[in-house]
Symmetry: D3
Subunit: 127 residues, 6 copies
């Protein structure tokens, strides 16, 4: 295990989302498989997100687009929260989904929009 990537990953997660969201996602996995959770913290957050070269808003655009394109409904809400916390505006997030329409197609983009509607509702965001 790489304690350096792990530490960087935990620090990054702390900046990206509130503690209760970390609880529902990473810690939920950790209680079942500590090794699996370590990999989640180390690789996406410790090894990728902590890199310079792209800022957090840019990283959110890449990640959201990948999740929308693969129809990954289960983790999309987590990353919508990250996107908002990174400084992408609600309208920028909706624009990003619209930008996937020609590439991922309407079914996947519409499914993503419904997830975003729910996250915005939970956070009392009006567009």
């Amino acid at each position: 295990m790489d304690s350096n990537a792990y530490a960087k990953g935990m620090e990054m997660l702390g900046k990206m989302v509130d503690p209760e969201i970390v609880e529902q996602t990473v810690n939920k996995v950790a209680k079942f498989s500590p090794d699996f959770a370590k990999l989640i913290v180390e690789f996406p957050y410790g090894s990728i997100y902590s890199r310079p070269g792209l800022d957090m808003k840019q990283r959110s655009l890449v990640t959201l687009s990948s999740l929308i394109t693969q129809g990954a409904a289960g983790q999309l809400d987590f990353h919508v929260n990250v996107a908002l916390n990174s400084g992408l505006t609600p309208n920028e997030i909706i624009e990003a989904i619209m930008n996937t329409l020609p590439y991922a197609g309407f079914p996947k983009a519409i499914s993503a929009l419904f997830v975003v509607m729910k996250v915005f509702e939970d956070r009392n965001i009006t567009v």
Copy 2:
């Protein structure tokens, strides 16, 4: 047909890539199916890319990520050229591919990297 979206799309394409790339892609389709080519010009470029709300660099990040994630090798080089012309640096493009590693997986990201390597070579770009 929407002449407004078509005109906006042709204008956008002219800003995004050089004429010879438009020839190899959109015009190649137009010679076979004019209607199909009109839709390519109107929808992605006339209706989506011409929208305000995200700038061209941001749109490139979303589009590249979607293409990488779906393994769309055939159109990736076009959009890598668009990304460079939009002002994303070569290093930012490589960072974007790295950002897809945890989400799209290594096979798709590596395939995309090989396409990028070829485009950079064709444009004499050293990283």
Copy 3:
């Protein structure tokens, strides 16, 4: 915006499904993002479905197959309703899903069949 494609799209939607289904889908999006809803009406329905060259039953076969293959569970019920309203028989719809078995695989086809079972049940259709 293309008022011509929009008008054609609204007209097409009116022929394809009942008003309450348009409410749950297109209008639900419109209340959140009017621009996004306009694109849904204009492109799939205004620019594609209104085209001659394939009839509505043929278009349903293509669309259903694409949704099944990408595992797009969220929009499949809408298009099953369209397929029935277009004149595809319940047995033809089940045959179409069976035809995806060798190409999309059993998991996706079975998931699609469960969606179809629910739509048929809601519409009191016995096969």
Copy 4:
């Protein structure tokens, strides 16, 4: 092995494509793995394509859409040949690809169009 499904499959293949295409596809597999080739003949062609309920043109629409949506470039040309031999016109095939634009997205549909262009060229078909 099911000799009934195998016989029906061989008969169906004979109706669907010319002998040299069967040689390049099914027989190419048979020389490497006879069992694998038997499954190809028995399941898609013996168990699915030989069924009543949808005609050959309808089955082609479903199969083409599934292949386009999954980006299955390697087998698309075979099924474009089947589609033409089943009586779908060249324009109907192009319309079917256009019908996948909103659902599979532009990259996959454009890749499919290029395959179709090549098959039409090989068969001296002008649209």
Copy 5:
């Protein structure tokens, strides 16, 4: 129909899962479309799973990986049950999901892990 593949398939299913799981899956389909259910029994179980060459634990690894990679949440629990009944240990199943992380990506692997957590809970399995 191939009574030989059907018989082998029913026999295989009987070894793989408990009767109540066969009821919720295969029989649920059979009540709606007997032909569809026959294909489910004949092809995956009669024609593939009954083959020698790979044992049941090896087949489970291949099948689980394919389902995880395509995000087939609906049928994953069935095959997790098959995997446990075949002799793969709970830890081996979690290792297999971890092995998909670099290839299918974190969203799909995490979604699969949540399905596995549920199946283990239902079967009172502690890891």
Copy 6:
């Protein structure tokens, strides 16, 4: 960077494939983006493949199935070589592809079989 995961990864790669294959894949990436190559060595090979819990043959079955299912033609040959070097027999590899037929579908499995045929030919393997 985690020198521990990197070292384990390099050691694992050395056991998995011959030096010239490492040159064509990992080193090809390293010359373009050293950071990208480090991630390839560290994560799949250093963090996943070096884990106990599944042996190399089992890991190959999981990885091959994931690559086949996502249509990742570009990296499949590398992993077919790994599979052979791990002790999976040629017939076991073909059986594994056959096992993906019901789950990934015939197009993806057939594409994979053609890659395997080429690797076997290059290694003078007769089945």
